[in-house]
């Protein structure tokens, strides 16, 4: 006795195959949807903002007059922030990763730290803002200066760097460290001379991704109380500052006061996006160029 009726199977086959083919197109469209939004977003921003970008805009001081306004202060502010974020996250992030991957004994402490890191990665950035406000601005009394902002952003992106560094270290083949130990090298010598250099491209890629996250972060800075209007350029980490995303935020808010502020916001977004694309391109280049053959 046959349960599977081949003629019936055959009949249903057409609709099944058709369904497959139709849904394939649906899935493709879904994939392209995100890209279409991306294209619209970029198109909108560029058409609104591109006309406002000129030398004066890039190098000038802030102004209440749209034609005079420049974003050098914000660019410098963002740069100073990164000057803190990069070393701080690299030192803490790589240190933590080395500890977790190479020194920590498998056990409660190690898994506690690991859980903790993955939780920190999910804490909303605005909460980091409150942390920064309480700890750096108030308790440590730095005020709303670059240092406070930089440290706040550092903590925020730290999990990204840690995870990237952990992965990079894990990817270093064991036979390299074995060779080093086999020569009588100590653990730290092996870490310093073999493991870290081999993991470096991965670490740098992670750091760049972290930096590009930090560059665009606005929420924590709004909580820190960054001045809305500030002309002088920051000259050090103890100066008050404004940053590119904050400038975008304030101009967006004030578009009702002066219509052109919306275009300035768009122009600033272009600058920010270009910065991000450059950073990501560097990350990709590093990843491709320094990929070691083992």
């Amino acid at each position: 006795m046959k349960y599977v009726d081949q003629t019936l199977v055959h009949k249903r086959m057409n609709s099944r195959v058709l369904k497959n083919n139709i849904l394939k197109q649906v899935f493709l469209i879904a994939t392209l949807f995100g890209l279409a939004v991306l294209a619209i977003l970029i198109f909108r921003v560029v058409t609104q903002g591109i006309a406002w970008i000129d030398w004066n805009f890039l190098t000038g001081k802030l102004s209440t007059f749209p034609e005079k306004a420049g974003i050098m202060g914000a660019i410098l502010g963002t740069s100073y922030l990164m000057l803190i974020v990069i070393p701080v996250t690299l030192i803490i992030g790589v240190g933590t990763a080395i500890y977790m991957e190479l020194y920590a004994k498998k056990g409660k402490l190690q898994s506690f730290i690991a859980t903790n890191i993955s939780n920190l990665a999910g804490v909303p950035s605005i909460v980091y803002g409150l942390l920064g406000l309480t700890i750096f601005v108030r308790v440590m009394d730095f005020g709303n200066v670059v240092l406070a902002g930089g440290l706040t952003l550092s903590l925020l992106v730290l999990p990204i760097v840690i995870v990237a560094a952990q992965e990079a270290i894990r990817a270093v083949p064991g036979h390299l460290s074995e060779a080093s130990y086999g020569m009588g090298a100590t653990k730290w010598q092996t870490v310093k001379k073999i493991i870290l250099p081999a993991a470096l491209p991965g670490i740098i890629t992670g750091a760049i991704l972290a930096v590009s996250r930090a560059i665009g972060e606005t929420a924590p800075l709004t909580v820190l109380g960054i001045p809305a209007f500030l002309l002088p350029f920051p000259e050090g980490i103890f100066d008050t500052f404004t940053a590119l995303p904050m400038q975008i935020y304030y101009w967006t808010l004030d578009a009702s006061l002066v219509d052109e502020y919306a275009y300035l916001a768009a122009a600033t977004i272009i600058v920010l996006l270009v910065l991000l694309f450059i950073l990501n391109a560097i990350a990709v280049i590093i990843r491709n160029k320094f990929q070691q053959r083992y």
Binding site: K105, K106, P173, H175, L176, E178, A179, S180, Y181, G182, M183, G184, A185, T186, Q189, K193, I194, P197, A198, Q292, R293, Y294
Partner: protein
């Protein structure tokens, strides 16, 4: 085969060399797995000692125990003693770095560092504090000559070691090991990833090296053991079934498991 072993018989059996390694009731566990069982072996200076046996019998484990590399696996525990030059090396107080400086190791897969050839060789001397450029240059040349790869690479010392062929890489690894002038060289199937021609060169090199160094070599290839070693230990399931002069093992083994293995009946 017989010709080869008899050839060597001449100087391997006659010399009455000093013992460099001596293991007493050595046992080793990976967690619950009993990987080495009551190993008692004496290994002699300036000889080639081959370790043979089927896969998983504990050959690698054994030679990694000799320089305590096996401890990189966190679950490892040992009992018994190993003395190296009359010092007990399994004591936790014994500095593994010192031991590993005197006992070099060559691995199955060539594992040069992703650095230049020059930096590969000087890695060992440098970590041990040798900084002088002149001395380092000398060490590089001497080690590369010692591993008979000098002529092939002398013009490209600054190039990345990964540009070399597999066989060259393995000789580079041997050179890297010679650079710190160890007394003993441990080799874990150094030719198993290589083509026959490269294998031959390494085998010749081993013959050359044993004038200066004591060599312990793990191999899957019985012909190789027969060709190059003075003594052979046959491992099975973590035990030493038989340990004797190589020609004895290959011609008149006293244990029939050895005979079975050598004649290819298992493994």
């Amino acid at each position: 085969m017989t010709t080869l072993t008899e050839d060597k018989h001449a100087y391997s059996g006659s010399t009455n060399n000093r013992v460099v390694y001596d293991t007493k009731d050595l046992n080793l566990w990976y967690g619950q797995t009993h990987a080495l069982k009551d190993i008692n072996l004496s290994i002699y200076e300036k000889e080639v000692t081959a370790i043979i046996g089927p896969s998983g019998c504990g050959k690698s484990t054994f030679i990694k125990t000799l320089n305590r590399m096996v401890e990189l696996v966190p679950t490892v525990s040992t009992s018994g003693t190993i003395t190296y030059n009359d010092k007990s090396i399994l004591d936790k107080t014994f500095k593994v770095e010192d031991l590993r400086t005197q006992v070099g190791m060559v691995f199955q897969k060539p594992n040069p560092f992703p650095k230049s050839i020059y930096d590969n060789i000087t890695y060992g001397p440098k970590i041990h504090g040798i900084r002088s450029k002149k001395v380092l240059d000398e060490i590089v040349e001497r080690s590369l000559r010692g591993a008979s790869i000098w002529d092939e690479v002398k013009d490209r010392l600054k190039e990345n070691a990964y540009g070399l062929s597999g066989g060259q890489q393995q000789r580079l690894c041997i050179a890297r090991c010679l650079a710190i002038e160890p007394e003993v060289i441990l080799m874990d199937e150094p030719t198993s990833a290589l083509d026959p021609k490269s294998t031959l060169r390494i085998e010749e090199l081993v013959q050359e090296l044993k004038k200066e160094y004591s060599i312990i070599i793990v191999t899957h290839n019985m012909q190789q053991a027969a060709r190059i070693s003075d003594k052979t230990a046959f491992f099975l399931n973590g035990e030493v079934v038989e340990y004797d002069k190589t020609d004895t093992i290959f011609t008149t083994p006293s244990d029939n498991r050895t005979e079975d293995y050598i004649s290819g009946r298992f493994g």
